[in-house]
Amino acid sequence: MIRHFTLDGKKIPFREGQTIMEAAQDAGIYIPHLCYNPEFVPHGSCRVCTVKANGRIVASCTTPATEEMQVENETEELQGNRRELLQMLFVEGNHVCPGCEKSGACQLQAVAYYTGMLAPEFTYFYPMRTVDSSHPDVAIDYNRCILCELCVRASRDEDGKNIFSIDGRGINTHLTVNSASGKLGDTDFDVHDKAAQVCPVGAILPKHEGYNIPIGQRLYDRKPISVVGDVADHQEE
């Protein structure tokens, strides 16, 4: 039996067990997200996909849809909350977009554009972070990691390598690499691993291709993410 819930006044069908996010995606409706990727178990940590379901604030990627549920998604209030979350992500890391190879095909940027963020506006942390270029084919720029945990899930659940994990607490939370030296070059990480394809930002970057696609001609340079979707779906291009 097909059941339905209401998303911004529209009737959306769902199957038993589907989350709000999954049902919305099947119906072709965009709910902004960073740590969600349909290929992996939802993590529910970035909170960008927060919606109001029957008046309660919930992450749409982890909340199952239920019959007759009333969900708000694209409201001024929720977009405002999302914008502030994104602003906090920007000031917590070091995001110098004009100098970033991922610029134009970065989901953090794209979701920020979608919510109408013009500037981060908060006080910058300017944390001291490093770049790991020890691997021959892939570099990690920790300045841009947003702790979405997608590389962790991809390496653990698909590559079966467990190369990444998230360590520490609060503002000291950080991504670590599972090798004695902590360097990516000392793991069996491979550029063809799933974990090399899922980073939504410019933290895990393949080397030697930098600006093959010029700035201005990239995925989100012309069309919003609500139209073209996640960067992970376009990696092969």
Partner: protein, 179 residues
């Protein structure tokens, strides 16, 4: 009173790229000059900012003089605008924030390629560097932000057009980017 809107602009820790983009509005500059009168800007070469309606700031703050100029602009401008990535988040100059100031100075003036008579400049004429480069909203209140490195000429034009016509400032998707 001329009835024209008074505009001042300056570049702090920027590269003048935003100003170049401003000039890129091309022949629309003529239309703009019918509506506005320029006070202190690199275009008029006026050195002191007077009372203005709109102040455009390019660049973040990296030294004591930047802070002084920025505060002077805030005192004089009714509407203050952060123009471009550096004003908004420190931009490329803020990449030095990953290092100690001392390390940066030594890299350039002591260990730099081809440096003779290595010494860190300390002339009193040179404004003192801040430990970190900061976006301007951390120093004064900012009324509008124009992202981009630089913001496209079209974005700057749209901003003026809407503001001068008392319309809410709104941009199209293509007018907003952070790079």
């Amino acid at each position: 009173m001329s009835g024209k809107v008074k505009v001042a602009t300056t570049s702090l820790a920027g590269c003048f790229g935003c100003h170049m983009s401003f000039l890129d509005i091309d022949e629309r500059l003529i239309a703009l000059s019918e509506l506005v009168e320029f006070d202190r800007t690199p275009i008029t070469d006026i050195k002191e900012v007077g009372p203005c309606d709109i102040g455009l700031i390019e660049g973040g703050v990296c030294n004591a003089e930047n802070v002084e100029v920025l505060k002077e602009f805030r005192r004089n401008c009714r509407i203050l605008v952060a123009m471009g990535a550096c004003a908004i988040n420190g931009g490329i100059p803020a990449m030095r924030n990953s290092f100690d100031l001392k390390e940066c100075l030594e890299e350039s003036y002591v260990h730099g390629v081809g440096v003779e008579d290595p010494q860190i400049p300390s002339d009193t004429e040179i404004p003192l560097l801040l430990n970190k480069v900061h976006p301007i909203h951390e120093v004064v209140k900012i009324d509008y932000f124009l992202p981009g490195c630089p913001p496209p000429a079209d974005t700057i034009w749209t901003f003026f057009e809407q503001l001068l016509n008392n319309q809410p400032v709104e941009f199209t998707y293509r007018q907003i980017h952070y790079d």
